[in-house]
């Protein structure tokens, strides 16, 4: 037991200096408040009845025994959903296909009616006195299915005669294109060398540790319906729930406290959101649904699921003349939320990577399969295309006898050519790829690899080194601008209200640091509140690594406005003119001018605000705003692996990351994001994959058969940042959340190929599991 332990005495405050984040105290003491912790007296509990087949017609459904089971209050079916007036789940983007025809969009119904299209698709919901009773009742479900042939993968889907959805021939939702086909064809005709490499960025599950959950309390009196759920930002979820339920946004409020990870999955409404609103309003009782991990596996939107088939055309010296891709995008069974965005825009805008590529072209086929719908997961297509480009460049170098470093070096966009517009129209502001690569080579001891390789070989091991120079386009955002509302309390505490909600990133801490720096307030006088229903504004949610520079820039603007107001007060306090007052590092200073009072005067923001009357303090209130678009974080990662050929077990023995993330606001949190991103990339590179059998049954349905990274698998990351500031936002910062996995996927894979290539293995897809690596080596030795 722990009673004899020495206690570290700290104040029970969020502003403790010994805590690295203001968020930490409650989270390390068990006082975090996640959705499953929300409790209403007398609340009811929901359980979802899901499809056990990947593709089937519902020929008969009898839920009378479910409805009659002990403790059951209600069973909700598709008919109830229709009667409630609810709509299908959201799809964020529809594109024109290659012929200019609109994409065939099939949105997912809240509950399946006549057909089911994937294992895990919701069919009905049971509401009962307890979660156990709801689940017991669901056991009595009586549904007859006529099982139809399933298309569990893209090739089967494209060949299938009976499509998933009526009118969608070959299950093709759209064939999209971007770039200049004719110019790219010409580049390939002029090429001396060409290389082609098809890579699969396999289907993954985002897998935040907090399973999805919703608690809805009906409106009471003048109050609104309360919807508690994890989100990435209130506004997105409000819009989604309004669109799907048919409620007006002023009829309900979305309440989110702590969010147990997100990684792209919390951005939109799922069936359970709609069903709980229906249940709570019709039963006039609070209702709770907390998903199990099994339900995460079979009903959280999946991620990745992209096949990227790239080609590069080179001249005799290795200069890139053109690149083209023929991609396949597995949408899953429906168009859900971000899948089209991923399969069109996000895998095309940076398809030339960090290279000067005169001609670029891509086509992508967006295909329905009998699997869980796909949406955003950490990077949402951007790590995938960076992976494809960097593997292709390595592959081409080895195929045609170029040094992979020198091939990159001669093709980097030269610093003098920035701002640089890619052949398909993306404007990069600035990156210094060669400088970052050279530092990464130095830090990783790249050029002494051979001696380490010989050492490994003397122990019977294989060793490989791989490098990736990546660039990604962080999120532009969907809102026209980011706003924050700053309100001073009578006591002088500044509460900043914003849209973007954290799921572990530490918004409160970073935003406080911005305010400390630009306004000079002390941390104990600063609060951040995300998604407060009584403060409505415009802004983006968390996503695309854009919160810090998006909402952060709006906070910088807020600080500038408050400083302006305080300056006016200082002028009247000191009876001086505006040009005599300087503000620097949280201190207002009277500049000494000739003939005037020769005593310098100083006052800190904190002291000045303390001197104001409560009314004057509240006059400091302001709305900060900023328009911040895409930024281009980039870097060079070098991975070194050692493989035991007797088992296929791989160890990452060195990992170096040199990243340009723009100006850093919170270096410790930035490093945390890099660690998390790199290790999620390790997961995709080595262990994680969703597996369906040919019938569309999900074989990886639990954490016992879907292998998440664990402690110790990537023991060390040598990390350095090289700051190249950007003018694309007020803070000069770039996105960091997704940069880690964008660099780690290709560097880890290139390291594996470097170790395996001497054995005649020219291509292998992730995950590089021990079994796969061992089998490939056994075949060739």
């Amino acid at each position: 037991m722990t009673s004899n332990r020495t206690m570290t005495t700290t104040q029970a405050t969020h502003h403790d200096q010994t805590l690295s984040r203001q968020e930490d105290y409650k989270l390390v003491t068990g006082q975090g408040h996640y959705t499953a912790d929300v409790h209403y007296p007398g609340m009811l509990h929901a359980f979802v009845i899901r499809s056990m087949y990947a593709h089937a017609r519902i020929t008969r459904m009898d839920l009378s025994a479910v409805a009659a089971a002990p403790g059951v209050h209600r069973v909700i079916t598709a008919e109830d959903v229709a009667a409630f007036g609810a709509n299908a789940l959201p799809n964020a983007l529809a594109v024109k296909d290659i012929h200019g025809e609109p994409q065939k969009v099939v949105r997912m119904p809240v509950l399946a009616r006549e057909k089911v299209h994937f294992v895990g698709q919701p069919i009905a919901m049971v509401i009962a006195d307890s979660a156990d009773l709801a689940q017991d009742a669901a056991e009595l479900t009586d549904i007859e299915f006529e099982v139809l042939p399933a298309a569990a993968d893209i090739d089967t889907a494209l060949a299938q005669e009976l499509p998933l959805h009526e009118g969608v021939a070959h299950n093709l939702s759209a064939r999209f294109q971007a770039g200049d086909e004719a110019a790219t064809d010409q580049a390939f005709q002029n090429a001396v060398h060409t290389s082609q490499l098809k890579v699969v960025s396999q289907r993954l599950i985002g897998m935040p540790m907090e399973p999805r959950a919703v608690v809805v309390a009906p409106a009471k009196g003048a109050e609104k319906i309360k919807i508690h759920t994890p989100t990435q930002g209130m506004l997105g979820m409000v819009g989604n729930i309004a669109a799907t339920t048919g409620l007006k946004p002023d009829q309900f409020e979305v309440l989110t406290d702590d969010v147990g990870g997100s990684f792209g999955l919390r951005g939109a409404a799922y069936s359970e959101h709609v069903l709980l609103v229906l249940a709570a309003t019709q039963l006039n009782k609070p209702v709770r649904w907390v998903g199990s991990r099994s339900e995460v596996f079979m009903s959280d939107w999946h991620g990745r699921a992209l096949t990227l088939n790239g080609e590069v055309a080179l001249d005799a010296q290795g200069k890139i003349l053109g690149m083209r891709f023929k991609d396949q995008v597995d949408l899953g069974a429906f168009n859900c939320y971000m899948s089209t965005f991923i399969g069109t825009r996000n895998i095309s805008i940076t398809m030339g990577g960090v290279y000067k590529v005169p001609a670029l072209y891509m086509q992508s086929d967006l295909v329905f399969t009998n699997t869980v719908p796909v949406s955003a997961y950490r990077g949402a297509g951007r790590p995938d295309i960076a992976y494809a480009v960097e593997r292709l460049i390595d592959h081409a170098a080895h195929e045609h006898g170029f040094d992979p470093i020198e091939l990159r070096r001669q093709n980097f966009i030269p610093p003098a050519e920035f701002p640089y517009t890619t052949a398909n129209g993306t404007l990069y502001d600035l990156c210094e790829c060669e400088r970052l690569m050279d530092r990464a080579l130095e830090l990783s001891n790249y050029y002494s690899f051979e001696s380490r390789k010989q050492m490994s070989e003397s122990l019977g091991k294989l060793r490989g080194i791989g490098l990736a120079t990546y660039l990604e386009a962080s999120g532009a955002g969907t809102a026209p601008k980011d706003q924050v509302i700053g309100e001073f309390s009578a006591a002088g505490v500044l509460t900043v209200y914003g849209v973007t909600g954290a799921s572990g990133q530490g918004h409160q801490t970073s935003f406080t640091q911005i305010i400390e720096k630009h306004l000079g307030l002390e941390p104990q006088s600063i609060q951040y509140r995300a998604g407060d229903p009584s403060h409505i504004m415009v802004g983006n949610g968390t996503g695309g690594s854009r919160t810090l520079y998006g909402a952060g820039s709006a906070i910088k603007n807020l600080c500038d406005q408050v400083v302006g107001k305080l300056k006016t007060l200082v002028e009247s306090l000191w009876t001086c003119s505006a040009d005599q007052v300087d503000f620097k590092h949280g201190v207002f200073e009277l500049r000494i001018t000739q003939g005037a009072d020769s005593n310098p005067k100083f006052i800190t923001t904190q002291d000045l605000i303390q001197q104001l009357s409560p009314e004057q303090r509240q006059q400091l209130n302001a709305v900060g705003e900023a328009q911040s678009g895409t930024t281009f974080p980039n870097g060079c990662h070098v991975a070194e692996v050692e493989i035991d050929p007797r088992t296929g077990v791989t160890e990452v023995v060195n990992y170096t990351a040199v990243d340009d993330l723009g100006n850093l606001i919170s270096p410790q949190l930035v490093l945390g994001q890099v660690h998390g991103g790199v290790v999620q990339g390790w997961g995709q590179a080595f262990t994680e994959q969703v597996v369906y059998d040919a019938n569309g049954q999900l074989l990886t349905g639990s954490l016992m058969d879907y292998a998440l990274p664990r402690l110790g698998q990537l023991p060390q990351i040598h990390h350095e940042t090289m700051t190249v500031s950007t003018e694309l936002n007020l803070l000069g910062a770039k996105g960091v959340g997704e940069a880690g996995c964008t660099g780690s996927l290709p560097s880890l894979a290139n390291a594996m190929m470097s170790a395996l290539r001497p054995f005649g293995i020219q291509a292998m897809d992730m995950p590089f599991t021990s079994a796969k690596v061992w089998a490939a080596l056994v075949q060739r030795t």
Partner: protein
């Protein structure tokens, strides 16, 4: 059935179903929501508590099996009234070993148990000791660091 146990130094009683899991007793009956449920196969470790001084996954045992036991949950690790933190809690914050915080209570409890067994753990002992706890945010590097930091604090 009626269950009585010692939780965080207090005797607590509750009436539960025979099938109620310990974690649900803690969360739903006793309001100790700091212990989290992250999976249904005992893989994630979010529900780790100390049972008679040993780290156990409270989703893996029935509440009835805990009858008469001494249980420490994250809420009982340090006295909340003073705002004091246990060295492991302090080390997790200091080393930025948490992001979303959902796995953190389980990680902290597993670390407390690990350091009871191995006050000066090797890397291999840390890896083994926390192999039953999953984190999706941090990449674990800072968690391993926090374990070492806590070990140093406890030894000093």
């Amino acid at each position: 059935m009626n269950i009585s146990l010692h939780i965080n130094g207090q005797v607590r009683a509750a009436e539960t179903d025979d099938r109620t899991l310990l974690v649900n007793l803690l969360r739903d009956h006793l309001g100790l929501t700091g212990t989290h449920v992250g999976c249904d196969t005992s893989q994630c470790g979010c529900c780790t508590v100390l049972l008679d001084g040993q780290a156990v996954k409270s989703c893996t045992m029935l509440a009835a099996q805990a009858q008469g036991s001494q249980i420490t949950t994250i809420e009982g690790l340090a006295p909340a009234s003073t705002g004091a933190l246990h060295p492991v809690q302090a080390a997790f914050s200091k080393c930025h070993a948490l992001q979303c915080g959902f796995c953190t209570p389980g990680m902290v409890m597993a670390t407390v148990s690990l350091l009871e067994k191995h006050p000066h753990p090797t890397d291999a002992q840390i890896t083994e000791g926390l192999s039953g706890n999953l984190c999706r945010c941090t990449g674990y590097l800072n968690i391993a660091q926090a374990v070492k930091e806590a070990a140093a604090q406890l030894a000093s």
